[in-house]
Amino acid sequence: MAGTATLDSPAEAVPIATTLEDLLLYHEISQFIYREARLQDDHQYDAWEALWADDALYWVPANGDDSIDPDHEMSIIYDNRSRIALRIRQLHTGRRWAQEPRSNLRRTISNVEVTIAGNGDVHANANGIIYESHPRGDVVWAAQFKYVLRRIDGGLRMARKTVLLPNNDTALWSMAFLV
C-alpha cells in the first residue's frame, strides 16, 4: 500500500498536510468524523449503522490499549458487523432500558490526524470528550478514536473503529449509548 508511513514512527512521519490534496483529504476525513459524532449524539441509529462497511469491526477494549488481543481478553465492545446490527435492533425496541430514557449526549471531537493515507484505506485518529446526562447522574467520558476508513461507492465507510477509554481499566458506569 502506498503512503503507509505513520505518525507513530518518527523516522517516517507523514508530513503535515501541505498539498491541496492533503488538505482536501484532511477536510473530508474530519467532516466524516464530525458527522459520525453527531449521529451518535442524536441517536440516529440507522444513519450511524449505514456508515459501516460489511466487514466492520467496532472495538472498545478493556484493561489497556489496542495492543491487547481481543480474541483472548475481555473487551467492553467487540462487535462484528452482525453484532453491530443486533446492537442497533436492540436500541430500536424501545425496551433497551439502559437507554430508556436515552442519555442526552454532546461530544466534542478534536486532534484529528490522518495517520495513513494512500491508495487504500485511510487511517485517522481523533480525541473526544463525551458529556452524558443520565438519570443516574452526569458522566464525562474521554476517548481516543482510531478509524480505518474505506472508500465504497464513492463515499467513506468505517471498516474499523477502536475506542480507547483512558479509564478502561477501572469500574465504569453503564455505557449503552453509541460511543
Binding site: 478493556a62 483472548h72 425496551r95 443516574r136 469500574a171 455505557m175 449503552a176
Partner: protein, 427 residues
C-alpha cells in the same frame, strides 16, 4: 461549614421489624449506617469469594482483588502457597502494590522502601540503624496484614476476616455441588480464569445486585429487548410455563435450576444455545474424559446459575464477583468461564460473554438500570416495603429438603434475607 439538621434516629433500627418473611423495609438498601454494620457483620466476617487459583498460576504471581471496599492482594509465593494480603505498608499505611497483576517476589513501599515478601513478611526496612534495639520495630510484627482465614474449593479462593467461625465447607453446604457441576463441564474438570475482568459499576446497593442474580421473574421483562431481536432460547426458561426451579440452599446461597427444562428437550449443548456438531473437539474430549453416557448427561444439564452468598455469581457462561463499595455503589467484576483443555468452547464462551455483560452488554446494562432504578425508587417513603412474597404459597421442599419453587418465584430472595438477618444479628 453550616450544620445540617439530622432527622435520622441515633440508634440502629431493629432488623426483625424490618425483615419479615415476605417483605423487607426499603431503608435497608439506603441506610448508610446499615451498610457500615453489613461490613462488620457480613463482608468482614463471613466467607467472601476473592479469586481463582488459575489467575495466579505461577510462583510469585499476584493479582489485586477485594473484600468489600478493601483491596486484597492475592499472591502465590515461591513455594506455591496462596496468600491474601492487605495492601497497606505497616509503616505509614501507603499502598505497597499499585499494579493490577504481575509477578513479584517482593513488594517495596515507594515511600520509605520497606520491603515485604509475597507471603506478607517484612524482609527489610531502609536505614535499619534507626530501628536497632527498638523492640517495637520487631520485623516479625510489622508484616502486611493478612486475611485471617483463607480456604479454597476446587480452585475458588475464599477469605474470611473472622479468625474463627464456620469452615468454608460448612458455609458452602449444599451449594458446593453447584461448583462441582460447573467444573465437571470441563473435560479436565477444571475452570481457568484468564481473560481479564470487565468492571461495571452501578449506583445501587449491593443487595439489589445479589437478589437480581437469582430473580427468575425479571428476565422476561428486563431482557425482552434482546430476547426479541436475538435468536435466544433464554426467554422460555423464565416463562410462566417453565419447569425450571428456583432453589434456596440456605446460608444465603441460591440457584436458578434450569435442568428440568434442558432435560425435557434432552439435547446436549442446548444449554449453551448450540449443538454437539458445532463443538466437535469439546464433545470428543468430554466423552473421552467421562464416557459418552455421562458426558451426554453433563452436556444436557449444562453449567449452573448459582449465587454463592454474598458475592460469587456463576451465570452459566461467566463468573461475576460482586463488590460492595458503599451503600449506593456496587461493582460487578465479570469474566468468561474458561475450561482447562477446551479451546473451542472457550472461544465461544468469550464471544458470548463479551456480548452480554459489562457496561455495554446486551443483558447487564439493562440489569444495571433495574438496580439503579430500585435504589432510586426505594428512597420514596410510601409504600415502605419491598414485597418478596411471590410463590410463597406454592413453595415446596426438594429431596434434599431445600426450598424450591417455580423459577419465577421469590424463594431465593426470601432465603437471602433469612440468612442476612442471621448474619446481622450474630454476636
Amino acid at each position: 461549614m453550616a450544620t445540617v439538621a439530622m432527622t435520622v434516629p441515633t440508634t440502629i433500627p431493629d432488623l426483625r421489624a424490618l425483615i419479615l418473611n415476605d417483605r423487607v423495609h426499603g431503608s435497608l438498601y439506603t441506610d448508610a449506617r446499615n451498610f457500615e454494620r453489613e461490613l462488620e457483620q457480613i463482608w468482614y466476617k463471613t466467607w467472601v469469594y476473592v479469586g481463582h487459583e488459575s489467575e495466579i498460576p505461577n510462583p510469585n504471581d499476584f493479582v489485586m482483588k477485594s473484600i468489600g471496599p478493601q483491596p486484597i492482594l492475592m499472591t502465590r509465593d515461591k513455594a506455591g502457597q496462596i496468600h491474601l494480603l492487605q495492601n497497606r505498608c505497616a509503616h505509614r499505611g501507603n499502598v505497597v502494590c499499585v499494579k493490577q497483576k504481575g509477578n513479584a517476589k517482593l513488594f517495596s513501599c515507594s515511600f520509605h522502601n520497606w520491603t515485604f515478601s509475597n507471603n506478607g513478611d517484612l524482609v527489610g526496612y531502609a536505614f535499619p540503624e534507626g530501628y536497632r534495639d527498638n523492640p517495637a520495630a520487631d520485623k516479625s510484627k510489622l508484616g502486611l496484614g493478612k486475611v485471617p482465614r483463607m480456604a479454597s474449593y476446587k480452585g475458588f479462593v475464599f477469605g474470611s476476616f473472622a479468625a474463627d467461625g464456620p469452615s468454608l465447607e460448612e458455609h458452602l453446604g449444599g451449594a458446593a455441588e453447584m461448583l462441582d457441576r460447573l467444573c465437571v463441564n470441563g473435560p479436565e474438570g477444571e475452570v481457568e480464569l484468564g481473560c481479564g475482568f470487565l468492571q461495571h459499576k452501578v449506583k445501587a446497593n449491593w443487595k439489589f445486585v445479589v437478589e437480581n442474580e437469582t430473580d427468575g421473574y425479571h428476565p422476561a421483562f428486563t431482557h425482552s429487548s434482546i430476547f426479541g431481536v436475538a435468536d435466544s432460547g433464554i426467554g422460555g426458561l423464565y416463562a410462566d410455563k417453565s419447569t425450571a426451579l428456583a432453589r434456596d440452599y440456605g446460608n444465603g446461597h441460591t440457584e436458578m435450576d434450569l435442568r428440568p427444562e434442558f432435560r425435557k428437550f434432552d439435547e446436549p449443548m442446548r444449554w449453551f444455545g448450540t449443538t454437539p456438531e458445532k463443538l466437535p473437539d469439546y464433545v470428543d474430549k468430554m466423552s473421552a474424559a467421562y464416557g459418552s453416557e455421562k458426558a451426554r448427561t453433563i452436556m444436557i444439564d449444562g453449567t449452573p446459575h448459582a449465587m454463592i452468598y454474598p458475592n460469587l455469581f456463576i451465570a452459566e457462561i461467566q463468573l461475576f464477583v460482586i463488590q460492595a463499595v458503599s451503600v449506593d455503589e456496587t461493582i460487578q467484576h465479570v469474566t468468561p468461564i474458561q475450561f482447562k483443555g477446551a479451546p473451542d468452547i472457550n472461544r465461544r464462551l468469550r464471544q458470548q460473554t463479551m456480548g452480554s455483560v459489562g457496561p455495554a452488554g446486551f443483558l447487564l446494562a439493562d440489569d444495571a438500570s433495574m438496580y439503579e432504578g430500585c435504589h432510586a425508587g426505594v428512597k420514596s417513603k410510601n409504600p415502605e416495603w419491598v414485597f418478596l412474597g411471590r410463590g410463597e404459597q406454592r413453595e415446596t421442599r426438594d429431596e434434599d429438603n431445600y426450598r424450591v419453587s417455580h423459577i419465577t418465584d421469590e424463594t431465593p430472595s426470601r432465603g437471602i434475607w433469612r440468612h442476612y438477618l442471621q448474619l446481622m444479628e450474630a454476636e
